[in-house]
């Protein structure tokens, strides 16, 4: 029985019907714009939708390739809706979810959402840019050598370990699970590279308590998805991944990345996002068969597991024990294509596509009966999440 609020939600009214991605790697030759166009073109072909049908475009504020350039290359017609979402790794599910809202409200019929990135471009690594004096939030952290995203998350990680007893073994559980999934995925950057617990524990430090293998990869590549109405989706050849629920989240007094200045810094954006996500859903965390959790850094996984309600507060570390994140036997197979740490780091857009593959039944680590598939974006920054389902 639908509640009055449910009647207003976008539940099941849109679907992801096309996915496309370029190769992942370091130092790809093609330009970022070329990669974006290739991914969009592949997603359109996958959906069986002609460029002229696209009337909406959604991307990241970090995206260098503009809507007009994409449209002139791919040969799009009239665009009647376009939008961007901020906060880097927090954006991917927001980009797709806002596209779904545009379709559900009649602002567009078919939207392409994409992300393209070349790490070789210095502009894509803001922390490495120097020059000028620091204003805003960075003036309180960078003068002291807290320079990189990994340093900023390491500060929260040390506090998390202190408050809740999480260990490096828990972080290793995360890194090893995702690497195992990448080893099964021929498109993953780490497909051929085995990672053992001994290698993890012997790795060089980057920012203690985080070592090399707690970090995501540095990857060039582009990915795109096509979103349209559930009605249109039923006419297409691909299996629709229905967008069951979508949410974004910023908790009170949040400061992006350096969130050390409020009463409870470890209650991050996932908590705000999850409250809306589950309120708008007809399913609960217990119904989720497979998860793609944003993993720029391994500690974001226990924090996300807690925020999205898969375990109690402080239990995110032990939740990873006994291969619980690993396909096929774990309780919650997570980042089944390898995630940002072992498939590709493209601001979490690859997680969206793997979430769709699980619904389609085409993952290289396919979960049996994956009828509810969760995808999240960056914890530690204003974030977003999607629940994808087999049924509308």
């Amino acid at each position: 029985m639908a509640s009055p609020q449910a009647a207003k939600s976008i539940r099941g009214s849109t679907a992801i019907v096309g996915i496309g991605q370029t190769a992942f790697g370091k130092g790809l030759v093609d330009t970022e714009l070329s990669l974006a166009c290739q991914a969009v073109s592949l997603a359109l072909d996958d959906a069986g939708i002609a460029p002229a049908e696209i009337d909406g475009l959604a991307s990241f504020t970090l995206e260098h390739d503009r809507e007009v350039d994409l449209a002139r290359n791919v040969g799009l017609g009239d665009i009647t809706w376009f939008s961007q979402v901020g906060y880097g790794g927090g954006a991917a599910c927001g980009v797709v979810g806002q596209a779904a809202m545009a379709v559900a409200t009649g602002q567009a019929n078919v939207v392409v959402a994409w992300r393209a990135r070349k790490r070789a471009d210095p502009a894509s690594r803001p922390w490495a840019q120097v020059g000028g004096r620091l204003a805003g939030n960075h003036q309180w952290t960078r003068p002291f050598g807290l320079l990189r995203p990994v340093d900023e998350i390491a500060m929260l990680t040390r506090r998390y370990m202190h408050e809740f007893g999480a260990t490096r073994d828990h972080l290793a559980n995360v890194a090893l699970a995702f690497r195992k999934h990448a080893n099964a995925n021929p498109n993953a950057a780490m497909h051929d590279k085995i990672l053992t617990r001994d290698q993890y524990l012997a790795a060089r430090w980057i920012s203690e308590p985080l070592c090399l293998f707690d970090n995501c990869l540095e990857t060039d590549g582009a990915l795109a998805v096509v979103i349209t109405s559930a009605e249109r989706a039923r006419d297409l050849a691909t299996t629709p991944a229905y967008i069951h629920a979508f949410a974004q989240g910023i908790p009170p007094q949040h400061q992006t990345m350096t969130n050390y200045f409020n009463e409870d810094p470890l209650r991050g954006p996932a908590w705000a996002c999850a409250s809306r996500l589950w309120r708008n859903a007809e399913v609960t965390p217990a119904d989720v068969k497979v998860a793609q959790l944003y993993d720029a850094f391994s500690p974001l996984i226990p924090l996300s597991l807690e925020g999205y309600g898969f375990c109690e507060r402080g239990e995110g570390g032990p939740f990873t024990d006994n291969g619980n994140l690993e396909w096929p036997d774990g309780g919650l197979p997570t980042n089944t294509a390898g995630g940002g740490m072992s498939e590709a780091y493209v601001h979490g857009f690859n997680l969206v596509i793997e979430g769709v593959r699980q619904i389609r039944g085409t993952s290289t680590s396919q979960v049996d009966g994956a009828d509810v598939s969760l995808v999240t974006s960056g914890e530690g920054v204003p974030t977003s999440a999607l629940l994808l389902t087999v049924d509308a």
Binding site: A128, V130, G132, R133, L134, A135, G136, N137, H138, Q139, W140, T141, R142, P143, F144, G145, L146, L147, R148, D151, A154, M155, L156, R158, R159, H162, R204, W205, I206, S207, E208, P209, Q253, Q255, T258, Y260, F261, N262, E263
Partner: protein, 145 residues
């Protein structure tokens, strides 16, 4: 060289009084001119009462370590020469919701890499000292017993 450290814009209108304070050898914090609550980092409006009235008040300069990291390369060259070095977050004894990021050093002129990283613990008591670099005075922290 520490001269190449990333430094704050001490003329940023919102935070200039803080950096003026450190220049005088004082660790000050922004307080609401209406309800009196402290806030850090500084900002134009009080999130408790929405007042735009601001005052800057002195603190005890005493704190405990809330968390810390030990940074290893790759780092910007100015910092890499001190690596591995510590970065700590402290919470003020006066109000534990007020936190500052800084470095644990042996004294005002100590290097950020000089403290044995294995000896730093969350909860240990520290107090502020001041290090001058160019026209900026950075607050840093030394152990207190």
């Amino acid at each position: 060289m520490a001269d190449d450290f990333l430094l704050p814009d001490i003329e940023d209108p919102t935070s200039a009084p803080f950096w003026a304070g450190t220049g005088r050898g004082e660790l000050t914090v922004q307080a609401c001119g209406s309800c009196g609550r402290w806030r850090m980092p500084p900002r134009p409006m009080c999130p408790h009462c929405r007042s735009l009235e601001v005052e800057w008040v002195p603190t005890s300069g005493r704190a405990t370590v809330w968390s810390f990291v030990i940074a290893h390369p790759p780092l910007l060259p100015a910092y890499a020469e001190f690596a591995p070095y510590n970065v700590i977050t402290v919470m003020l004894d006066d109000d534990p919701r007020i936190r500052f990021v800084g470095n644990l050093v042996s004294g005002p002129d100590g290097s950020i890499g000089e403290i044995d990283a294995t000896t730093i613990v969350i909860g240990e008591p520290v107090e502020v000292v001041f290090t001058r670099i160019d026209d900026v005075t950075l607050p840093r922290w030394v152990r207190r017993s």
